[in-house]
Amino acid sequence: MNNLPRLKEPMGSLIERDQPVTFTFEGQSIMGLAGDSIASALLANNQWLISRSFKYHRPRGPLTMAGQDANTLVQLGGEPNVLADNQVIGAQMQVSGQNYSGSLESDRDALLGHFSRFMPVGFYYRSFFKPMGAWEKWEGFIRKKAGLGVLDLEAKPEYYDKEYLFYDLMVVGAGPAGLSAALKAADAGAQVLLVEEQRLLGGALSYHRFDIQGQQATSTLSSLVDKVQAQQNIKVMLSATCNAWFTDNYLPVIQAKRLFKVRVKECIVASGAFEQHVVFRNNDLPGIMMCSAASRLMKHYAVKPGQRAVVLTGNDTGYLTALDLTEQGVQVEAVVDMRESSVVSELQAAMSDAGIEVLLGSTVYEALATKGNKHVSAVDVRKISAPGEVASQARVIDCDLVCMSAGFMPAYQLLCQAGGQLSYSDDTAQFALSNLPAHLHLAGSVNGVHQLAQVIKDGQRAAALALHNLSLSDEVIEAVTCQSNHNYHWPIFSHPKGKDFVDFDEDLQAADIVNATRLGYRDIQLVKRFSTVGMGPSQGRHSALPTARLVAKATKRTVTQTGITTARPPFVPEKLALSAGRSFNPVRFTSMHHRHIALGAQMIAAGNWRRPAYYGSVEQREQTIQSEALQVRNKVGLIDVSTLGGIEVRGPDAAQFINRIYTFAFLKQPVGKTRYAVLTSEQGVVIDDGVACRIGENHFYVTATTTGVDQVYRQMLKWNAQWRLNIDIANVTSAFSAVNLAGPDARKVLQKLDSDVDLSIEAFPYLAYREARIEGIPARLLRVGFVGELGYEIHVPASCGEALWDLLMAAGQEFDIKPFGVESQRLLRLEKGHVIVGQDTDSMSHPGELSLNWAVSRKKPFFVGSRSVDIVMAQTQTRKLVGFTLDASIEQPKEGHLVISGGDVAGNVTSCEYSSSVGKCIGLAFAAIGDSQPGSSISIRVDSGALVEASVVSLPFFDPDNQRQEL
């Protein structure tokens, strides 16, 4: 590669001239300078072809040099779609182009462009929509052709992070408006965050020429930057993108590998304006770029953008760019001004002084290319005869650089996300933003102000508004007016041979937009979705306005009437890693967790909790569950039930409150007794269950399901916020660890330990509640029957949980105690026919469907859901939860399998397991009411598609008289 000499200082504000950096592009070694972007380094080596376009694989080079277009998306190592005009070069970087077959320089698929008339707008959408399956067949091929880089499937996760930031004021954009706004606010005492997308402060001041002499920008820039850097109240973030606006000034800012979630009281958007291109044939050739891109190349990188230039403009900017180019030794062949007149005399004089020809009322109609469309070689310039139309007489001017400026469109994206409305005046071609929320302000060119002095004043005006809201100043600054008009009204010159690109990202030409309207898509939003215009990485920054103009003209409306497509967040493509970042997935462990791990437990999630499923290898799962269950039936087992919810209700109205919340009667529940507690919603649906222990006259301890307790607790608080009963409600779930010691030998195990409670059946019968000290550990003991064996639920302070586990396991050793997990507990309770709320119930299950009528008191005045329960239970019941058995040789139904009755769905299986104790498959299912009596049979559609017949039996399946739990 031939490394061209750089321009002399002060050009090149971003580069270090004495620090060469070598990287590779397409396998070739390239030498740039520290601070170069990939694009500037390539251009400095005369490598203009950087990537190829998405659809037609057209050669593309830099368009904006500011990361605002998709022309320079490259592959950087394993990372696709890197913006070559933003990414700073590093030693040993491996860069390659995208979207080509073969090599970047000679892409076999570049011929696709010749077939473009066979690939009209909406081609894929229309061609592959039918027949069914066509898209699936062609998708792989089309995706490969469409390219978009290569994913590294071996990529290792990198550390991305998130952080909140808090400031009084955030200023988006550090151009002249942003700098002056930040200074004004900070000087008044506001804490200011100044966010700039580029690597340096100044915005347009760092590259744009504001005056003929070329002095204004430099002096203003150094003065503002010096002050900002000296101001302690301003925090500057460079290379940082504010990627969205969310309600109440919640602003995500991306910088490197961190997503900052910024919350500010006031926000000033000084995001500037995007220079717009002119639509003419071959306007996408390498060597054709925005005027601002040429300026950035020279001022930031000291790269000479060409030898012979043509400037195509619709405003004064082009003239100033021509002066810049001339000063840096570029031969400006002509300034082609689309305007008929209106050029100020000073500019005309400057042109003639510099020997630059000005062609008024003219445009470039077509760009001519070197072989293979690699670079612009000349332009076909014609007189404009009517808006969008040209005379037949052509003048061809040889050049290797075309700089264009059709006008400026405000960077309105964040503001539209905030609800701002963008309006357009068809007469003056000017934009205005309105309807902004409070505490969000505009400043500078995004506000339609372009002249430097006014821009600076506009920044101060916005700052004064923010300061007023912050109560830091009462100053009011009058609205700023700006006379200059930057927008040429119709910079679109369609060519019969096309390639007059409206949208570079998606290779959309002027005719594509017009054709979309002819197919009936009049609405601008529908045109966007049909044609994909504005959907590429540059999100309509350059295509939105010409699209609106074309649609307006084709549908005989004004741009004001058609509107302009907006851009939702994010403003720039955002890596998923940034959103994922350091993700927070809370997990809760019981105090016995480490004991389970040591015993080889397989842990499963229960809400946020981790619980042992069973203790043993995954391969031995089924056998382990059966043997754990048999251990409880025959000897003794121990299960950690710490995750059960626990709620304390204390106070004079405790019984009254429990009586209102749960369906059963609790007013007369004796102290020292437990009672089953069912909770219905106001709709009469069973939503939770537990056990209510009456610890004292005014003290209840109620358990709730693991995943239901938070909701139960919140509902209790909400009800009592209305009822005003004299009680305290506390969620004590994490305060207690608990185990269920169950099995015929449970009492013997507990008796081995030193405790101050009489465990005899007479003193501590089934369903009783006692408090005790077990080896000194204060404990709450409940005689429960969930698994249908003699059992003690022992609740202790969480800080003693591990010790309790150790004590019981040691005491149980001589009785062959074994831990059991959630899976065997589910089997054991199923054998007893106990429902699990949420598994065996659904959002329609009322107590009658679950045969819980016995647990509903119809005598008390009220409980939550009582009226609804009355109403639904008075209706004819259509289904019921029943127990069924199946021979073990038949295909086992699974949870969710449908119960079929008379060809219709009658219900579904809610639980089904093989039970060693019963010797059959047992399960619960919703069945039609006519099939719910024991002795009936139900048909279940299983995985294989077969219908299996199961026998409905009475519950429980095991120990029908419940003698074992009452031992």
């Binding site: 992070d161 998130k162 952080e163 909140y164 930031l165 808090f166 979630k261 919350r263 350091r582 927070f584 997935n585 809370p586 997990v587 809760r588 462990f589 019981t590 105090s591 967790h593 480490h594 946020n608 909790w609 710490s642 304390e648 204390r650 106070g651 004079p652 004299n726 305290d728 506390a730 004590v732 779930t733 994490s734 305060a735 207690f736 030193d754 408090e771 000290r773 080896e775 000194g776 550990i777 204060p778 709450r780 302070p797 969480a798 800080s799 003693c800 591990e802 010790a803």
Partner: protein, 198 residues
Amino acid sequence: MTTSEKFNDKRSLLYRCYQQQPAALTAEIDPSQLGLHDFSVKLRYGFRGPQAHAVLSAAQITVPSAANSLCTTPSGELVLRLSNSEYWLLHPKASGQQTLLESQSTEQCYSLFCQDSHAWLVLTGPNIARIMAKLCAVDLREIVFPHGAIAQTSVARVNAVIAHHCFGESAVFSILSDSASASYLWDAIQDAMQEFKD
């Protein structure tokens, strides 16, 4: 109230983490240095109810005048007020002697079980607000969250009480959070601290 003679080994739920990291078990901490410390075994009580204020006053304990603020007693105990009628007492120097069943409730002043329901972590060092900004959406910078302030909020998606107070000359955050989530939160805070180490 009888105190157990046999069992006196109450364990923080971070106990097992410490077994793997014995260095963290140091008794004395330097509150001016970056660090995360487990105070879960230290004594604390909670009381709530219409009479809670009266009960504490009777015990000569001064309470903060507003919800979500704290004050420090002359002996270094922290008195947190979490609502109009809820108070927590934290004893940074005493180990847990009583457990939930032993701290008695009286009529209209109900003891809360924060000794067991909540872990107590203490974050120290010069960058505590910035570390928390990586975990928590509430602005905890000194200017808006001064000494004596309390925030009940979400830290790394776990509910927590954050109390800003001093150990000696150093400002620290006490973080009181669900004891069952303690080891998760411990790891999350350690991860956030990483960039401020060495």
